[in-house]
């Protein structure tokens, strides 16, 4: 088993938390996993991304130049990372902010999910990232959704602990929508 994904969006969309959740869930699932955030001044100026690699073998490079999967939470991320996506790879597009039609659906599998709209419906506009991750595991089968839900309590910062049920709802909603 091997899977990798680049999760990208604006700063503030919770890209790092999304990646951490996936990685932590994979660890609990008994897999090897690496998580690589962007860091440093590149974080400024509004964009962020991170890479997660899951495998039952020892993992080589934690940095992936031609990912199998991309989660694009906004339009610049879709434009940038779909170019890197491997042939036949999957991109989960936040269709609230980026038109899935922009993706090259001839070459790659495109899963459009209106993450912002769903998040607002769930009742917390900031949970765009959770919606997207729910959609991601559905679209790729990388991990069972339950694993993600279980991992929530380990990765959500303590002072947001009360939001865990909402996060789980958002995951589920994304899963259902994909």
């Amino acid at each position: 088993m091997y899977a990798d994904v680049i999760i990208a969006g604006f700063g503030g969309q919770g890209v790092v938390l999304a990646g951490t959740l996936l990685a932590y869930a994979a660890m609990e699932h008994g897999l090897n996993v690496t998580f690589m955030p962007v860091y440093g001044p590149e974080m400024r100026g509004g964009t962020a991304n991170c890479t997660v690699v899951l495998s039952d073998e020892e993992i080589g490079s934690p940095i992936i130049r031609r990912p199998q999967n991309v989660v694009a939470l906004n339009r610049p991320s879709l434009e940038k990372f779909q170019l890197q996506l491997a042939d036949g790879g999957t991109v989960v597009v936040n269709s609230s902010l980026a038109d899935p039609a922009l993706a090259d659906s001839a070459r790659i599998k495109v899963v459009g999910v209106p993450c912002n709209d769903i998040a607002e419906k769930v009742g917390n506009a900031r949970m765009v990232n959770m919606v997207a991750m729910g959609a991601f595991v559905k679209a790729t089968g990388a991990l069972p959704l339950e694993r993600l839900k279980q991992a929530l309590s380990h990765v959500v910062p303590a002072h947001y602990g009360h939001l865990i049920p909402k996060n789980a709802e958002a995951l589920q909603a994304g899963y259902d929508a994909a």
């Binding site: 604006f10 700063g11 503030g12 969309q13 100026g45 509004g46 964009t47 906004n74 339009r75 610049p76 902010l97």
Partner: protein, 78 residues
């Protein structure tokens, strides 16, 4: 009537301009630019109140605002 020109692609939505405008005519719009920032705008309905004082432009860290001042006939002739 003075006026401002706000370059929405430069604007980062910090809203510092909105707090210094003596006429209180600047506000957050509902538009997001390509960088994902909710940009500021001059409320169209209040635009004519702009005095061209440049306060907003001076405070803007991103040089997103250009200010045109219209000197009223009376003032201009002084």
């Amino acid at each position: 009537m003075s006026r401002i020109v706000l370059d929405e692609e430069r604007c980062k939505g910090c809203l510092l301009c909105t707090v210094v405008c003596p006429k209180n005519i600047l506000r957050q719009s509902s538009r997001m630019n390509a960088q994902g920032y909710k940009v500021a705008e001059c409320a169209p309905e209040l635009a004519e109140e702009c005095t061209g004082c440049t306060a907003c432009a001076q405070m803007c860290p991103d040089l997103a605002i250009v200010v045109w001042r219209t000197v009223k006939a009376k003032e201009a002739s002084r």
